[in-house]
Amino acid sequence: MSEPVALKLTAKDFKSDQEVRWCPGCGDYAILAAVQQFMPELNIPRENIVFVSGIGCSSRFPYYMNTYGMHSIHGRAPAIATGLSVSRPDLSVWVVTGDGDALSIGGNHLIHALRRNVNLKILLFNNRIYGLTKGQYSPTSEVGKITKSTPVGSADAPFNPLSLALGAEATFVGRTIDSDRKHLQSVLRAAAEHSGSAFVEIYQNCNIFNDGAFEQLKEPGTRDDYLIRLEHGQPITFGKDGQFCVVHPPGGFGLEVRETAATPAEEIVVHDATVADPAYAFALSRLPGFDLRNTPIGVFRSVRRPSYDSVVQGQLADARATVSETPEQQLAGLLGSGDTWTIVG
């Protein structure tokens, strides 16, 4: 194959003619801009890119991308995108979804897309609230969340989206933040390079119904002490002065945060996104508490497993490899198979 020709696309090429209609200040704007700016890097012709979304504020996303796009129904985008991706392996298919869309009504489709390892890039805009329906709590809202539908506080424990994805054995799992364009694009890049399902949780601020949900991760005064920036092959240390680190205490199941100064260097976990056992990435996903301390961002896991699409396409190719007849001849043969009899006129 010859080198692909550079398409020389710019962010502008990915802006559709539709007026963007999120609330002023919504984190979705930042994500849209970051994605539009990132897209040219893919060097994929716009016509071969499809954004499929469900319903929610976040799911308006496809209207603003000058690619092919479908704004579908609540929670079903992974299912629709699966049919598209499996039957059209030539396309780059992206799913945009929200925390309610992906984890409440569409939870089933999400986990099944991930376990199948469909070749989809799934971007979950997590604002921990139902934005479009004006502020009910969501399956990622913290326990006790006071909203219109839970005036004395929500009673149910939330999902940790990454833990859920890892439980479904997603082959690529990452997390990033709307406000950190560089980081967001680095995770998108890794996701785009991954073959199979790539699941990316993007912390997104809904400034109308859940403002400041991720403030500690953005505020210059706190963010460095709260965020764990995962880098493949690097020891996991964080904090303004690298004063914290992550260790795997012997005898324990999970990972823990320690003071770097009091920890022998060889005990600090070196991040390896390619660990086959999802338990490692799962342990990473369990680090943060509800105060958002110790929140890892970056690529948690990136392992290779044949995509559902490639296996299905492979089966089709195998079945067709030996066919020498025209489809019409094949069909005539199929119709006339089994016990037949002939009546002469």
């Binding site: 479908m70 079903r76 299912a79 049919g83 067709r320 069909l331 119709l335 002939t342």
Partner: protein, 615 residues
Amino acid sequence: MTKQIRQLERVVIRFAGDSGDGMQLTGDRFTSETAQLGNDISTLPNFPAEIRAPAGTLPGVSSFQVHFADYDILTPGDAPNVLVAMNPAALKANLTDLPRGADIIVNTDEFTKRNLAKVGYASSPLDDDTLAGYAVHPVALTSMTIGALAELDVSKKDAERAKNMFALGLLSWMYSRPYESTLRFLERKFAKRPELVAANVAAFKAGWNFGETTEDFAVRYEVKPAKMPPGTYRNITGNAALSLGLVAAGVRSGLPVFLGAYPITPASDILHELSKHKRFGVTTMQAEDEIAAIGAALGASYGGALGVTTTSGPGVALKGETISLAVALELPLVIVDVQRAGPSTGMPTKTEQADLNMALFGRHGEAPVAVIAPKSPSDCFHAALEAARIALTYRTPVILLSDNYVANGSEPWLLPEVESLPDLRVEFATAPNGEDGTTFLPYLRDPQTLARPWAVPGTPGLEHRIGGLEKADKTGDISYDPANHDYMVRTRAARIETIPVPDIEVEDPDGDARVLVLGWGSTYGPIGAACRALRQRGLPVAQAHLRHLAPMPANLGAVLRSYERVVIPEMNLGQLAHVIRGRYLVDAIGYNQVRGLPFTAAELETMLEEVLKNV
């Protein structure tokens, strides 16, 4: 001993036994032998609801009915002339369907105290007067089979299991069936275990010889071949025919077929069948649920495939929201509903015309789709092609309403020439369609079909966004404009209403009928048989059958109004009748039955005779 040979015009045989007795296979083989002989045939299996109900119990009874004749027949027969009962449960479960005088062949070996007790027989019906008035043929089927295989190197269990072939041999002798196809079949089936080929062939021959030698069977019957149009035939079930129709739709359209399905009785066989046809470019996906199944099919359609989803009523209920989306997106999609008795889980293995209401009206918003229903097993092939044709030409979801009766029933199918099948080729949009020559208007319609362009991803210059929000005419942009919404709702309705469908044909050979029987779907056979019977008795009655339920044929109103009385038999509480009355203001009478069983021709004949008396 020379046996008397008697000619018959038609025979209905029911093979009944425990689900482990191989009755479906026995029936299938008998059908195949009968087909080779050239009789017209119609068959109907009756499966137990449980997969493996305890042996010898009533819920474990499985049966297979075959009707064959020297003329063209329309149904698997109201009542058997012959019952083969492999055990007391099979006898008890089927006896009420048997008219007096019928032949009963019973496997006496199974009439043990224990087996009799299992089904609540205090004494053996073979000894008391339970079977008075029937021609009972007691046959020690199990022990004779074991005896016949004594010399062979098979276990007692395998020998015992060959008893269905003994029964088949006996029946094949009784009705003078050619058995070469069965011998060939056994060789194929047990190719890996030659000792079982030998055992089953020996059992078959023992049954045949038993008929020839025993005095209990004094008469042998013949049913002459039927006069059928020349050509090559095969016997086919509705589900198989429907599957082949979908494969054919792929070939004739040149599009890959994508099936998304979630297993559900009685539709699963379509998924099983289509999963075998990958060499035709057919992709099957067993999805996580019915919603995902239709979602994936719609996604595939969006990408330029023929998207199909197959299910039964409960699954269609789940798919409703996605069907509405497909209505809004105006993409081709075939939804197959193999109906079963509801509500809820209902009676999954029993038939019902349960879902016409749901197909026509069961969605949120004004969400019209095309609806068609096959009238017989082999018609499922053509109905599938027709559903695909409408979906592809008019870019719309189409619901195909099959049901358990046509899905599992079988009949001879005159194989069509592939070239004679409809040409389903489509044109994808390739270039901007706006007046300026550069813009693409995804909702600019073809003036003839009202279909919008099918612009599949991957086509340069036609990048566009579609979705479930209301769209502005032509541009497809999101629109909340009142006039636009009104226009779009009416246009989506018109898109379906103006699909040209063939006029409904009326069968009224003498042209003097005053009563019209209108049916749809799988009731065609029983209604047709009842009408023929009435006409033979000099009672004129007209029959018309709806294949297209949405849109309905343009001449339907005129046809309905030209009769004094319109009767609509349905296996539901009057779903079509309701539509007909509302749409055409015709005072149609319903005849409704929801017992999970097809109509018998006899009950329809009696009912219609009553109606005829009163006009």
